[in-house]
Symmetry: C3
Subunit: 161 residues, 3 copies
């Protein structure tokens, strides 16, 4: 297999971008997280939920999601990313695919819950002003495979992957 090359500077930049972004999310800074998207960015994080769009829409979706799921739960969540594959495209988009685990700790309980396992597909742009920004992020959950075509908007084939 011929090596899929990537500018090494870009690789480290994306790792740092992801770390900064997820420290913000795990710290409950939903507006800071939303600000890592382009103005018209799109975020699909959970199967069955509609995609969130625009920075304001993404921040609102995060607030709603956390109210529903973690309102009375003093959980500290940590998003772990790994096995990052970066693919710059000729049109300037940067596609990145990686694995994710969510580590959730409750006060007084040493053993965290580590679930679910996901695969994330990022589309990034390198903005002259702001640097890296997310145009879109799509999270696939390994335990809830989605039908093919569910994302692209084309008709699903009915075949699970």
């Amino acid at each position: 297999m011929r090596e899929v090359t990537v500018p090494p500077d870009l690789y480290a930049r994306i790792q740092q971008f992801h770390a900064t972004q997820m420290h913000a999310l795990d710290g409950g800074e939903f507006d800071a997280y939303a600000a890592t998207f382009t103005e018209d960015g799109e975020f699909r994080h959970t199967p069955g939920r509609a995609p969130a769009r625009t920075r304001a829409g993404i921040a609102e979706e995060l607030r709603a999601f956390h109210r529903e799921r973690f309102a009375d739960d003093p959980v500290q969540r940590r998003h772990w990313f790994n096995m990052l594959r970066v693919e710059p495209r000729s049109d300037g988009e940067i596609h990145a695919t990686f694995y994710v685990l969510v580590v959730a700790t409750r006060p007084g309980v040493r053993q965290p819950e580590i679930a679910p396992s996901c695969v994330v597909h990022d589309v990034l742009v390198d903005d002259p002003e702001d640097g890296l920004l997310l145009r879109s992020r799509w999270v696939e959950h390994d335990w809830q495979p989605e039908p093919v075509g569910a994302v692209s908007g084309t008709a699903g084939s009915g075949v699970s992957r």
Copy 2:
């Protein structure tokens, strides 16, 4: 301790190489995985199993292993690598040592199994044509320590490590 330096470009290249390679393996593309080895590459992934050799031999070993272990098991496995230490040698070989966990998810079950914990020893070459290729990979399993000398071919000392 004096810092063990490594060309930063090489570090990111190996991370990208590992990600591309393991996305292929976790997607069931055994021939693509085998193609990340040199023609005469060697792969030892499980204590007690003979090493696989050559690209064809490695792909065949993976097919056999997955038939035996996962034939009727709709598991999605994800290999996580971490704590990568890279050491370029004067003869052109690149030695890389890192930690591994295997994350295994079944459809409908949110909680993955995360086991076993391993240490992997890669020997890479930087081919002028194909870029990075694996000359050999040896996987040590933390729960099944192997006797010293089991790998190098020299007589074991009887001392477990």
Copy 3:
């Protein structure tokens, strides 16, 4: 959010530094671990334990800690770092914040224990002679939140974070 940039070379250097350092620690080489600190380095790894200071003090603290906790326990521990955010300061200090999980395997037991989840704050310097060295490391444990001010030496506010 404007991208928080970092020299990509530095990012890979710190990843390699962390890997080399933690391979030493997980291999029981406490003096080698201590040697990754500056002569007057400080290490706070567990809430409720006094910080260790100087290389000799850090190595001694590690020996004491391992005697107390793991004397008769044939455990293989592996420290996993992730989501590294690097921030070079104008005074030459390099601040790094990242997530940690500890993976602990016992012989004959395939399933490791993975706990606790931590956040680590490193302060590094780039020594002309030795390269990267730790001036200080502070480990926060997610399940045991510390009162604000516990570290900086200022009076705690009584508010948990």
